[in-house]
């Protein structure tokens, strides 16, 4: 595999007295798509927030492109080339779509490059072009998600952190958005760290996956292999094996506990 772009080691982050991440280590190779799966409250978003600097870790290190960035202010982290697409989109509701996109390019000075990238995201999401002068708050949920991803792309990042891009979207839209994420990774060479509850989608576009439960990583493997694991199938993909008698009479326990 290629060089590691982002490495997290022994990370511990607290919400007040509550330990949200309990010593996590993982690595994201350059130009790959890595996903972190987990249920509600497993600590997925906390990991992303710690990486992007919104939360400060108690212990551990975050290394991006050979530089330790834990505890840095989020605007500095963004300048280093990490774009965070937050959970719940978080667009600027009273700015127009175009202004939102320009804010994404806030850190950049090259006017020509920004205009070029504006065209690029419009080609990824044509609907944004037709809504360019509308207020972002008036967009539908799916369009806002497209806007949030595009806005992050406008910074021409080396790495994107995506927090539950499928949240609250129709299955067709989810598919569309994931296809774009795969394209961004393939065509632009942007490294992606994807956090998802929709394990099926995530495992199909990612190269490598980690499974997070209550603040710990309990399993990691390449995505094709994760897809084959019984526990993943049962608890994350919702596929039930049919037993010898056709119906199961016992509840299976997760084997990693």
């Amino acid at each position: 595999m290629a060089d590691t772009l982002l490495a997290v080691a022994n990370l511990e982050t607290y919400y007040g007295p509550i330990m949200a991440i309990r010593g996590i280590s993982f690595a994201v190779p350059e130009r790959s798509v890595v996903t972190i799966l987990g249920a509600n409250g497993a600590g997925k978003s906390t990991i992303l927030k710690t990486v992007s600097g919104v939360m400060d870790p108690q212990k551990g290190t975050v290394t991006f492109a050979g530089r330790e960035i834990q505890g840095m202010d989020p605007d500095k982290v963004t300048r280093l080339g990490i774009s965070h697409v937050p959970e719940g989109r978080e667009v600027f509701p009273f700015l127009s779509v175009r202004e939102n996109l320009l804010m994404g390019a806030f850190t950049r000075r090259d006017v020509a490059g920004v205009a070029e990238d504006l065209e690029l995201v419009y080609s990824y999401f044509p609907v944004l072009r037709s809504r360019a002068e509308q207020r972002a708050g008036s967009l539908s949920g799916g369009e806002q998600q497209m806007l949030a991803i595009s806005r992050a792309l406008m910074a021409r990042p080396r790495m994107m952190l995506l927090d539950e891009p499928s949240l609250g979207l129709s299955p067709r839209l989810v598919k569309e958005i994931f296809e774009i994420i795969a394209r961004i990774n393939r065509e632009r060479g942007v490294t992606v760290l994807l956090v998802e509850q929709n394990a099926n989608m995530a495992l199909h576009i990612a190269d490598y996956g980690y499974v997070l439960e209550v603040g710990r990583i309990v399993m990691e493997d390449t995505c094709p292999r994760l897809l084959e694991k019984e526990d993943i199938k049962e608890f994350y993909l919702g596929m039930k094996e049919s037993g010898v008698r056709g119906t199961r009479r016992w509840k299976r326990k997760k084997t990693w506990r």
Binding site: P74, S83, F94, F106
Partner: protein
Amino acid sequence: MLNGLAVGCIYGLVALGFVLIYKATELVNFAQGDLLMLGAFTCYMFVVWYGVGYWVAFALAVALVALFGAVLDATILRRIIGQPQFSVVMLTIGLGAIFRSFASIAWGSEIYTLPTPFSARATRLAGVAVSHEYVSIIIGTVVLCAVLYAFFTFTRIGLAMQASSQNQLAAYYMGIPVKLMFSLIWAISAGVAAIAGVLLAPVSLIDINLGFIGLKAFAAAVLGGFGSIPGALVGGITIGLIELFSGAYLPQGFKDVAAYVVLLVVLAVRPQGMFGAITRKKV
């Protein structure tokens, strides 16, 4: 009529300062009126003590007070974001008191007049004498509003300020230095207050209690719907006109309470203010 309009413009400008800061940081700055007072005094100091020209003194006063606003944010007010509103209110009222006593130490508690190029001059317009001082206030307000509007709508930094006040977290994710933006907003709002102070000075004389105009401006901001910029201006002008007419047509004394009567009625009848729900959009 013109006088009411002019005084209303001043209320509007101070209310604008309230609204800018409130929208961005959700703090209500009760020292806004005292920043106005500082602006007027600083300009007076340059003109009368140091013999600087009016326009230069005007610019210096605005720049100094704006800088002061930014420093205030960076050193004191940034620390209390997230604390209960109550403590913010107490702190800013306290700051206002400090500014007043500072002013009385530095400049004395007498009443001064600021000589300006427009002082005691009038033009006859359609048979009515129009004093230049009032006209200067109205023109100043219009120009300032146009400049601010253009700044917030068309410049990168202005947009970033809007973005920071609409969604602080997302602004951080964009790489916008949110703290710096907030300091800049404080600077703008203090600068606007200083401009209002300098414009007001020739009309109302300068003393350390000039800042109490801030309370009426607060009523204007509430009337317009706290958080709406056009609301603040319209609210200010409305209050100015109401004051004028209640001074002319109602018994003595009503003039000074009119603003607060309006405030009470608004809070009782339409707490969101005139523009509250509809125009809570621009910074």
